[in-house]
């Protein structure tokens, strides 16, 4: 499964990188979204994927006993998901206003600050 995830992450990265290099500002935003998903999956995979179950101490037990999946990358990803949402929301509003102010969605046309 790790190999398959590696391929999926690679494809998501490739697609995201391709989109952020486009001139259309909407594609840039979508590309950043893809990169966010890809990065989260990458961190998650670094904890080694296993179907062994969530890192939750079962009732009655005093501590977690193997097998369980690694909680540390999960904690990192959880933070990352929330933060990327905040950044994305800000970016979207910024893009919208920039489009309304300049009337273009072409990044190459946004080179000057006085339009």
């Amino acid at each position: 499964m790790t190999a398959l995830l590696a391929v999926v992450i690679g494809i998501l990265y490739g697609a995201g990188l391709y989109l952020v290099m486009r001139r259309s500002i909407v594609k840039l935003v979508l590309g950043l979204g893809l990169l966010t998903h890809a990065a989260n999956l990458l961190i998650f995979t670094m904890g080694r994927v296993s179907r062994d179950g969530a890192p939750i101490v079962p009732p009655g037990a005093a501590e977690l006993t193997a097998p369980y999946s690694d909680p540390v990358p999960q904690a990192l990803v959880l933070t990352a998901i929330v933060i990327s949402f905040g950044v994305q929301a800000f970016l979207l509003v910024l893009v919208k206003l920039a489009h309304r102010a300049t009337g273009t969605d072409d990044l190459d046309a946004l080179r000057s600050t006085d339009q």
């Binding site: 499964m1 995830l5 391929v7 990188l17 989109l19 890192p55 501590e63 800000f90 919208k96």
Partner: protein, 766 residues
């Protein structure tokens, strides 16, 4: 010794204040600092002559074995005396030369700063300390040469000197480090003992070449001689100081200092002697072709530096004493000549030999100083220049293999310099008096220095045994790294050297007599001068600027896509190289793929491709949502229910936000041409492949689990929580979560602020 250097630095920083507080007396008061140091170094003569070198040392960068170390032996002492003695005279002279000029405080400050750097250079006993002082002399000489900074020529000359000597300085640093590697020490006074080890080391030749590059640029050796005449844009006292005793002699000092460690090899002989002899002749020929006295002196300086380099290159007992004698006499007469010419310029308003004449009666003291010095330069007895010249004639017989060539070349060089000396001595002072009728003797400040220096030259020539030997013998010993006996007599008898001297003077006299006609005859050749190395320097500078412009235009073009392309491309290429050159890739073992998992993966891949191919924003957002939900399912399948929950919620919010905000945008257009798609596609595919390889390589390494195990053991016990991920977020790493919340709050504030910002079109709502 550190105290002496710090004293000069302190005087430099106090110079502007001193000028404000003391007015006209400030120049003399400031000159008292180097004068006192001169007296201090004279006091050291006895112990140094007796062979006792003194040393000081402090840890500087202990981890790298770099020390702030100073060492006073004969060579350092000779230079220290010249630096402080001539420095004091030049400061007095400068105060008179620039009297009433508002820039005088700046002159004194820069001069003292340079003096401190130069003194540090000749006293330093650590290669790195030497380099630091070396660079300080380059920087402060930039300020001095560019003193008339409102003149474009001065600025350009200063920059040229800085570039040439600065580039050489960097080469020298590399060379010194290689030398330190080969010798096992950075201590200069300990290098001589390691000569055999250094010269047998594989780094010997690169170190030698780099160090020679540094020395040759600093000492204006051919083909780097062009910056020195350019530096004549500086005021006369600056030229007198930089080009007699200090700046340009630093390269000679370095060669002499490293002679015990590097000298005597074939490479040393060939390179140093060839450079010296070529410079000697080039400088002499160019000097003979000048009519401006200052430029003429500049080119004789080039020639003299060639002579010194030649002598150091020969590195025999005779050449060492000749080098040190010539070094001393050249510093004395050249400083006096530059100062004297400055006085002529100051009084008569011109430095052109064709316009000067008959000033001897009006300026008797200056005339004496200049004539005595010029005759010393020509090598006439009984002046000290004659003694040095005799030594030179002896030494050049010892050039390995090419004695005849070098002898002939230096014979003509010396004859040309003698003719040039005639021009300096005779033309301004004798013959018919020309236009400058109002000229009269310069004020005492302007003749004191030259006269003292000229008298010193005469005294050394008359009593060389008692006056010059204490200076030259320890210096020659230090240069050779072994005790060297120097015997000096004013009259060496009817030797072959004497015959050569006479012949050379006769040739010089003939050349002097035909100077006007020679210049007229050679006038058509003046265009050739433009083809010199200066032209190469100009082309290099123009090329540098053009290159900077071209790369700025290519890289800093203001197109976001290109920036990202370069950044992503470089990151992928460099990190990919690092990954693939170190790690062998192998498919991870086991695990297997279930049908449902494969279906989710397929859906995500299709979603990603759909985002790329989407024609409308809505389709793009929907496809991105598919990928996001796919990620959530993966989290769910592989033991991350909290992640899955969060991802589902956030993804739903994201899609809604996208649709709300972007729904009015136009369809996604194809903006870039197909060639750019191909180019970006290539980089993107490379990036994707790299990440896949990275994941495979990272998951193939053993899984380090101390954190996981600690949290697993302590979650319930220490934090009373069963869901370990939640416990990490809200308890063990609660401050991280606080940071996360802060980011969200800031983003929310930003969104709110942006929504309030309505540049135009108030009717349109989001």
């Amino acid at each position: 010794m550190l105290t002496s250097i710090l004293l000069l630095f302190a005087a430099s920083s106090l110079a502007p204040l001193a000028h404000r507080a003391l007015g006209k007396r400030a120049g003399v008061c400031l000159a008292a600092v180097p004068a006192l140091l001169f007296a201090h170094f004279v006091g050291q003569l006895g112990s140094v002559t007796a062979g006792r070198a003194s040393a000081e040392s402090w840890d500087w960068v202990a981890g790298l074995g770099i020390r702030l170390a100073f060492h006073l032996d004969g060579l350092s002492l000779l230079f220290a005396l010249l630096v402080t003695g001539i420095g004091a005279l030049v400061l007095v002279y400068g105060a008179g030369y620039l009297e009433g000029d508002p820039r005088l405080p700046r002159f004194s400050a820069a001069m003292l700063f340079f003096m401190a750097a130069m003194l540090g250079l000749v006293l330093a006993d650590d290669a790195i300390a030497l380099f630091v002082f070396w660079e300080l002399t380059s920087v402060s000489s930039y300020l001095l040469i560019g003193f008339d900074h409102e003149q474009e020529k001065a600025r350009k000359s200063a920059l040229q000197a800085l570039f040439v000597t600065g580039a050489g300085g960097l080469a020298m640093l590399a060379g010194l480090l290689l030398l330190g590697e080969a010798a096992g020490t950075l201590q200069l006074s300990a290098l001589g003992a390691e000569a055999a080890r250094i010269q047998g080391h594989s780094l010997h030749l690169p170190a030698l070449l780099l160090i020679l590059l540094g020395a040759f640029t600093k000492s204006a050796q051919f083909p780097f001689h062009f910056w020195l005449p350019g530096a004549m844009a500086a005021p006369s006292p600056v030229s007198a100081y930089l080009h007699s005793a200090t700046m340009v002699k630093a390269g000679i000092y370095l060669l002499a200092r490293l002679n015990p460690a590097l000298g005597g090899t074939d490479a040393w002989h060939y390179l140093v002697i060839l450079a010296g002899a070529t410079t000697l002749v080039t400088g002499a020929v160019l000097a003979y072709g000048q009519t401006d006295l200052k430029r003429l002196l500049a080119f004789t300086t080039v020639s003299a530096l060639g002579t010194l380099t030649l002598l150091v290159g020969i590195s025999t007992e005779h050449s060492a004493r000749a080098a040190m004698a010539f070094l001393l006499v050249h510093a004395l007469y050249k400083a006096a000549l530059f100062l004297g010419v400055g006085a002529i310029d100051h009084e008569a308003g011109t430095r052109d030999v064709r316009e000067l004449g008959g000033l001897a009666r009006a300026m008797p003291l200056t005339a004496f100083a200049v004539c005595a010095s010029a005759l010393s330069m020509a090598g006439l007895p009984p002046l000290f220049g004659y003694v040095a010249k005799e030594f030179f004639h002896e030494a050049k017989q010892e050039v390995p293999r090419a004695a005849a060539w070098v002898s002939t070349a230096s014979f003509f060089g010396s004859a040309l310099v003698a003719a040039a000396a005639g021009l300096v001595a005779w033309r301004p002072f004798f013959g018919r008096r020309r236009s400058q009728l109002s000229a009269h003797e310069a004020p005492p400040a302007l003749w004191l220095g030259p006269v003292l220096l000229a008298l010193l030259g005469v005294a050394l020539g008359l009593f060389p045994g008692s006056l010059a030997v204490p200076l030259i013998q320890p210096a020659a010993s230090a240069m050779r790294g072994e005790p060297t006996v120097v015997e000096l007599a004013p009259w060496l008898g009817l030797s072959p050297a004497l015959v050569q001297s006479l012949l050379m003077l006769a040739a010089g006299a003939v050349l002097y007599a035909v100077h006007d006609r020679a210049l007229a005859a050679l006038a058509p050749l003046r265009g050739l001068a433009k083809l010199g190395p200066d032209r190469g320097y100009q082309a290099l500078m123009a090329g540098l600027v053009a290159l900077a412009r071209a790369q700025t235009r290519a890289l800093q073009n203001g197109v976001l896509g290109v920036y990202l392309l370069v950044t992503i491309g470089s990151a992928v290429a460099l990190a990919g190289y690092a990954l693939f050159s170190r790690v062998a890739l192998a498919a991870p073992a086991g695990g297997g793929v279930r049908l449902g998992e494969a279906a989710v993966a397929l859906a995500m891949v299709v979603g990603a491709i759909a985002v790329i191919r989407a024609r409308t924003t809505l389709i793009g957002v929907a496809a991105l949502g598919v990928v996001g939900y796919g990620v959530a399912v993966i989290f769910l399948l592989f033991g991350g229910p909290d992640l899955a929950l969060t991802q589902f919620a956030i993804e739903t919010l994201s899609v809604l936000l996208f649709v709300l905000v972007l729904r009015r945008l136009p369809p996604m257009r194809q903006l870039s041409p197909p060639s750019e798609h191909l180019r970006d596609g290539f980089v993107a595919v490379a990036g994707g492949l790299f990440v896949t390889a990275l994941v495979l390589a990272a998951t193939a390494t053993p899984h380090a689990t101390p954190l996981r195990d600690w949290f697993a053991a302590n979650s319930l016990a220490a934090a009373n929580g069963r869901n370990v991920v939640n416990v990490i977020l809200v308890d063990f790493r609660a401050f991280d979560t606080l940071g996360e919340i802060t980011v969200l709050a800031v983003a929310a504030l930003g969104v709110a602020a942006l929504l309030r910002l309505r540049p135009e079109d108030r009717k349109e709502s989001l």
